[in-house]
């Protein structure tokens, strides 16, 4: 939300419009209702600072993964948004190769090594270059990490964090575009987090590292380069966000839109469009997929009576399906319209640019779904 307002402000002040001082005052007035937004940091920097602080605070925390160490190299500004610019920039120089461990390309192997290390007293952060590659290690994430505390009846806990970018980037084809949020969230014993803004990234990552249980931390490659305003509170080294609590990014009364990760940005843009039609959408940033903040979602639905869930993943058994089931179970009589689920297409991600656009949710899809939920007339046939 702040991101959108501050970007708009930049655009308008650049034009030097006469309404400038009024606009600025209005924005400041709005901002003073929330924490004072002082700095803008990129999600990548937020994650990097969180890793840095946690590694400094606790010597048992170490990072391992492919290209986390040396590859941070001399990235000039021109490559700041390269898909290969790592979040671990600068960490190798500060902590050395024994705490920032470059691994060979063996996901199953090094994930297992991470789990073993965490069973025995260390706190590893296992980075996957993308969560697609984590599919080669999923046996260890589920069977070794998630189930060990249970199988050992609390004797051995696994304080590990699995992190990395999740989901489609731009034009990377079927095998690089998988979303795994719903797979991991169906597994008991795991905690699954999906940050959106820099504040989310910092707070949730710190909490994840301090957490005594295995946490799957799903970042998004396309969000790494986006900047969000953060308050001083967020930049403090003890800033943590609790697991299991969602955030209402924008309040509204007509329809609830739930989203996570990159789709929160889309939901917010959709909310802006809906405002012009006098529909006030309440946008919920889930932040935590497992455990889901069911009470917040349900309270919101009790207020608005309509629900739209947005996600990038495949439609069947997605996060939206779980939210829908939860809402129907607890608030059946409050629902005034069927729950609308927006998800990716039910096909592997095509490479062609135009097909990829069709295979992913777009802002217009969210807007249409919200209108449908509010019984506004919407063209029903798919137009070519």
């Amino acid at each position: 939300m702040f991101g959108i307002i501050s970007h708009k402000l930049v655009a308008s002040t650049a034009g030097g419009s006469p309404g400038q001082p009024i606009l600025r005052a209005a924005v400041l007035a709005m901002m003073s209702n929330y924490s004072t937004a002082t700095k803008q940091i990129m999600v990548r920097e937020a994650l990097n600072s969180a890793l840095d602080e946690e590694m400094a605070a606790d010597p048992t925390v170490f990072l391992m993964g492919e290209e986390v160490g040396e590859y941070e190299g001399a990235y000039k500004v021109r490559f700041v948004n390269s898909p290969l610019t790592p979040v671990s920039k600068g960490l190798l120089r500060k902590y050395g190769p024994q705490r920032v461990v470059d691994t060979p390309i063996t996901e199953a192997g090094f994930t297992g090594i991470g789990v073993g290390a965490s069973c025995h007293g260390l706190r590893p952060i296992v980075e996957f270059m993308t969560f697609n590659f984590a599919m080669q290690a999923i046996d260890h994430i589920i069977n070794s990490a998630a189930k060990t505390n249970y199988m050992s009846a609390g004797n051995i806990n696994v304080p590990i964090v699995f992190r990395g970018p999740n989901g489609p980037a731009a034009g990377v084809g079927a095998q690089h575009s998988q979303i795994s949020s719903h797979w991991y969230s169906s597994c008991p014993g795991l905690k699954v987090l999906a940050p959106y803004s820099s504040e989310d990234a910092r707070g949730l990552l710190k909490t994840a590292i301090r957490d005594p249980d295995p946490v799957v931390f799903l970042e998004n490659e396309l969000l790494y380069g986006e900047s969000f305003p953060v308050s001083d509170e967020v930049l403090d080294s003890s800033f943590c966000l609790p697991i299991g609590k969602a955030k209402i990014e924008k309040e509204g009364k007509d329809v609830t839109i739930t989203a996570f990760s990159r789709m929160v940005g889309y939901a917010l843009k959709a909310a802006e469009i809906l405002e012009k039609e006098d529909l006030e959408a309440e946008v919920i940033n889930l932040r935590s997929i497992r455990p889901l903040d069911r009470s917040l979602i349900n309270n919101s639905v009790r207020k608005t009576n309509r629900l739209v869930t947005v996600e990038e993943g495949f439609p069947q058994h997605g996060v939206g399906a779980e939210i829908c089931a939860s809402v129907v179970e607890e608030n059946f009589n409050y629902l005034d319209a069927p729950v609308e689920r927006i998800s990716g297409a039910d096909a592997p991600m095509p490479y062609a640019a135009n097909l990829e656009r069709l295979a992913l949710p777009q802002v217009e899809d969210v807007v249409r779904a919200a209108r449908r939920a509010c019984y506004r007339s919407v063209p029903t046939a798919t137009t070519a």
Binding site: E67, P83, P104, Q175, H176, D346, A347, R368, T382
Partner: protein, 445 residues
């Protein structure tokens, strides 16, 4: 399972598995190689890091060679001997004029195509991940030009040139890269996922190591068809191409074991270009000599100079011949180099410029040119004609791709299943696929 994995043949006689004598063979990198003498704690790295606490870099330093018993001799030694003898009498070159021109044309096609890809990428016509093959052409040409159409090739994301060598038309590959519907995979696969049933190219995989079990399966099919389905003349061979980073991956070892166990007609070709994105092979591998992993599983392991197409071809002949005769798999390690970064998004700042220059001087295309001139196999004019022909071919491919249409909306849900009834029955009781508009999906963009 038969105890003897090797029958008497010229190729295997060099490889006596049970020998324990230590063979005096030249090391992978000669003593003057900078990688061996650099004092930094990161082998293969150009960066010296100042760390506050001493790291245990001694364990990472190149192992002092213990008394080894590598019972396998690199066949490149055999070829070197042959060649040094034949340099004396120019009447005994390794290839004929036609073969030489064919090899030259294939390598130049690979090189020009990849260069054009880079140009097109920076113009925005190509997108996503594009991994170029410049510098490694000798491996693709050396191996694939010996195959028949029915033989299979399985590759990684660096697969454009494998596709071209195998016979997929340049137009089809370029269209695929542009994401057009005339591409070899109708624009659905992209750079990293080239498939062709006609040319038996089984992919194009994004994850390293993923293609190896698939290749092993194709070899399994070949053997099955011969022995179970009794197709006596089915001697199809499969080639699996992959890199040095893959050789630390579990799937690689699992397949080496099964291929040797069942004597599958496959050749595992390691394109060791020393770098896995920014990770030097020496930093990631406990024993960097990959060819040694073959004998550990009961198959010959060979190391060859991958910048020399003729040496590669000689080794390939032996390995493919072995597989075709039913004698089992071979592991061939080709020492090669990629002149460009890992992908077009890789700034490639970790590799030592001196190393790059050294390998650039061993450019396989220039080397073949030189060989052909020295042995009077081709004239300057012939080679220039080939260069021109390839330039036109690549330009034509770009034009074709440019003018081709984007995939139609109705292609979105096509090809998800071979039998589209897999989409199930819709709310109206009919199969969803029976609705002609179904494959368009429901997005409105």
């Amino acid at each position: 399972m038969a105890a003897t994995a090797f029958s008497a043949s010229k190729f295997t006689q060099s490889f006596s598995l049970n020998s324990t004598r230590s063979v005096d063979r030249p090391p992978l990198f000669p003593a003057s190689h900078p990688l061996k003498t650099t004092p930094s704690s990161f082998l293969g790295s150009t960066r010296k890091l100042s760390l506050s606490s001493p790291s245990s870099s001694t364990s990472r330093r190149r192992r002092r060679r213990p008394s080894r018993s590598p019972a396998v001799v690199a066949v490149s030694e055999v070829v070197k001997e042959k060649k040094s003898k034949s340099n004396v009498s120019l009447s005994n070159p390794l290839i004929t004029n036609e073969e030489g021109l064919e090899l030259y044309e294939d390598m130049v096609l690979g090189r020009s195509f990849e260069d054009m890809c880079a140009q097109m990428y920076y113009r925005g016509k190509m997108f996503g991940f594009v991994h170029l093959y410049n510098g490694q052409e000798a491996v693709s040409t050396g191996f694939i030009k010996l195959l028949k159409q029915e033989d299979c090739v399985v590759s990684t994301y660096r697969d454009h040139v494998h596709a071209l060598s195998k016979g997929v038309p340049a137009r089809a590959v370029m269209s695929e890269l542009f994401g057009k519907t005339t591409g070899c995979c109708r624009g659905q696969g992209g750079s990293m996922h080239m498939f062709s049933k006609e040319h038996n190219l089984l992919g194009g995989f994004a994850f390293i190591g993923e293609g190896i079990p698939v290749a092993t399966g194709a070899a399994f099919t070949s053997k099955y068809r011969r022995e179970v389905l009794k197709e006596a003349d089915c001697d199809h061979v499969t080639l699996a191409f992959f890199g040095d980073g893959t050789c630390n991956n579990g799937q690689f070892f699992e397949c080496l074991n099964m291929a040797a166990l069942w004597k599958l007609p496959i050749v595992f070709v390691v394109e060791n270009n020393l770098w896995a994105i920014g990770m030097s092979h020496l930093r990631a591998t406990s024993d960097p000599e990959i060819w040694k992993k073959g004998p550990a599983f009961g198959m010959p392991g060979v190391h060859v100079d991958g910048m020399d197409v003729l040496k590669v071809r000689e080794v390939a002949k032996e390995a493919i011949g072995r597989a075709r005769r039913g004698e089992g798999p071979t592991l061939v390690e080709c020492e090669t180099y990629r002149f460009r970064g890992h992908s077009l998004a890789d700034p490639d700042e970790l590799r030592d410029p001196a190393e790059k220059a050294r390998y650039a001087s061993r450019d396989p295309i220039s080397a073949l040119k030189k060989y052909m001139f020295e042995n009077n196999l081709a004239s300057e004019a012939e080679l220039k004609a080939i260069d021109k022909k390839i330039d036109e071919l690549v330009e034509d491919a770009v034009e074709f791709a440019d003018e081709s249409p984007l995939p139609a909306r109705s292609q979105l849900l096509e090809n998800v299943f071979a039998d589209p009834r897999g989409f199930g029955i819709g709310p109206d009781g009919r199969y969803r696929c029976e609705d002609p508009k179904f494959t368009e999906g429901t997005a409105q963009v």
